[in-house]
């Protein structure tokens, strides 16, 4: 009888081995290990078919292609669309080239992205902000004019800020795959490419609000939440309701007693798996509409968790990471010529410390 059990591929990512099914991408394999192993993703969105391969944020180095052909791949590959091979060795955050490339990718993405985080409603839960904070530089070198667009009104619920768009196509895939009819898309080419409806038209599908959640930046934001409050001053609470059109599982964002925003639930990769309808998102904004399940789990390093300390909160690992990143060996900077012992004539200390003047290993 033929063995129907699919053979598992062994992949090594940053020295950690993981077994995955054939056809899995490197990014998915890295996410299976979890935690910091996963490369950042700006355009790839697991629930959306066809997404990925555009932003180049997830580039990794393949040090060995497979067990049969262990040659390294000549260039960095986009991990979100590259399937794994048996015996593949991947270098993600252990490779200097990958990290410097990511730094450059941040810079490229930020070329046309306005630095208006103080104004933007996405600040605090923005993928690009996190990406730039973790991998980018603190300053910009870009001095030219950023591209600008005519303002487009796309309906009463969604606010489009085309200047902030990084053209990840997530909202286009969402409209294609979640709704029956897509009315917006990417118009123009190259530098002039923009998200729009061509003829000014409101996006008013029942599930149109989901483009707000999938947008990695603040290009598509909730008009009903516009400038209402900063994300980190609101308190996320998981809730559900009996909705005839969608699953009804949402996150409510409280400010005091008021629900000021409703979003779909996001998993640890900031992805929505259960899309919600517009009725849940925009119309049901009072506590009586919902059954509260409890506070949403927010990662301790997120700004959303600030000033919401709980007794069982875990100690943040940011300090540890910062200390590890800024650590230098004590001998690197020290001027050994100034050490007192070497200013003494050798015969004074040679009997006690015979190897004191040997060069350091």
């Amino acid at each position: 009888m033929e063995n129907t059990q699919p053979q598992l591929f062994k992949v090594t990512i940053d020295g950690i081995e993981v077994e995955v099914e054939p056809g899995t991408t490197i990014l998915q394999a890295a996410r299976k290990i979890g935690g910091d192993m996963a490369p950042p993703a700006m355009c790839y969105y697991q629930p959306l078919k066809g997404s990925g391969g555009k932003c180049r944020a997830c580039l990794v180095r393949v040090a060995a292609g497979s067990a049969k052909d262990p040659r390294p791949m000549p260039k960095l590959v986009a991990s979100c669309i590259t399937p794994v091979q048996d015996g593949m060795v991947v270098e993600n955050s252990t490779n200097e080239q990958v990290l410097s490339t990511r730094k450059a990718i941040v810079e490229f993405l930020l070329i046309n992205h306005p630095l208006d985080c103080p104004v933007c409603d996405q600040a605090g839960e923005c993928d690009l902000q996190n990406f730039a904070f973790n991998h980018g530089m603190a300053t910009t070198r870009y001095e030219e004019k950023r591209r600008t667009f005519d303002k487009q009104d796309i309906g009463p619920y969604i606010q489009l800020h085309m200047t902030r768009c990084i053209l990840c196509y997530r909202c286009v895939f969402t409209a294609d795959q979640i709704t029956q009819k897509r009315v917006h898309g990417v118009l123009g080419r190259g530098d002039a490419a923009e998200i729009g409806t061509y003829i000014e038209k409101a996006i008013d599908n029942d599930f149109s609000g989901n483009v707000i959640d999938v947008c990695p930046v603040g290009a598509l934001t909730d008009k009903t939440f516009r400038f209402k409050n900063r994300v980190w001053f609101t308190k996320p609470v998981d809730a559900h309701r009996d909705c005839p059109t969608c699953s009804g599982n949402v996150t409510l964002w409280y400010r005091g007693e008021d629900v000021i925003r409703v979003t779909a639930r996001k998993n640890e990769w900031n992805e929505v798996t259960e899309f919600i309808c517009n009725t849940c998102r925009f119309d049901k904004k009072s506590t009586s509409d919902w059954v509260i399940e409890g506070p949403t789990k927010v990662s301790r390093s997120s700004v959303i968790s600030v000033n919401k300390a709980r007794r069982d909160a875990i100690i943040p690992d940011f300090q540890k990471k910062l200390a590890a990143a800024t650590y230098t060996d004590v001998h690197e900077e020290r001027d050994t010529s100034q050490l007192g012992i070497q200013q003494l004539p050798p015969e004074r200390f040679a009997p006690v410390l015979p190897h004191a003047n040997d060069p350091e290993p």
Partner: protein, 187 residues
Amino acid sequence: MQLTNRSKQVSNKQMTLAEKMYLPAIAQGLAITIKHFFGKKVTVAYPEVKRYLGPVFRGHHVLKRDEEGRERCTACGLCSLACPAEAISMVAAERKKGEEGLYREEKYAAVYEINMLRCIFCGLCEEACPKQAVYLRHDRMVPIFTERDQVIYGKDQLVEKMDDRYIRTNPDVQATPTEPSYSRSAT
């Protein structure tokens, strides 16, 4: 052995009548007192006269306006996030058409309140501000209050008056980095 040159020789000499009545000692003491009448005063008459507290003193908050007189604050909430005493609160609003001369960016603080009873004048808000909007004046203190309803300062007391602009007198001392050369205007 002589340990110090200030030591005095002790003698059993009889004091004169004048010395017994302390007359030279009194004259000497009065001379010292009179000398201080003509010297430089070491104190100031505080409420009327105020000392210069230095260029890095952190006093009364001010919400700066830019060169064209528009409010710099965009109500981003970073000051309020950085505040260890949770003294700052704000409500944001969207700038309407025709208000471009009042507010620099499309969002502005419609309400900006600092609770001076909570404030510890640490200056973290000044450091956190990405728009160089909030400063703690080096030349003015928050006045003493007698009622609790005087404690919360609103925009009317905080926003810089156009005829009373605030400038750090010592430009060498920068508590907050100066604005970078590239444009940060929102679109």
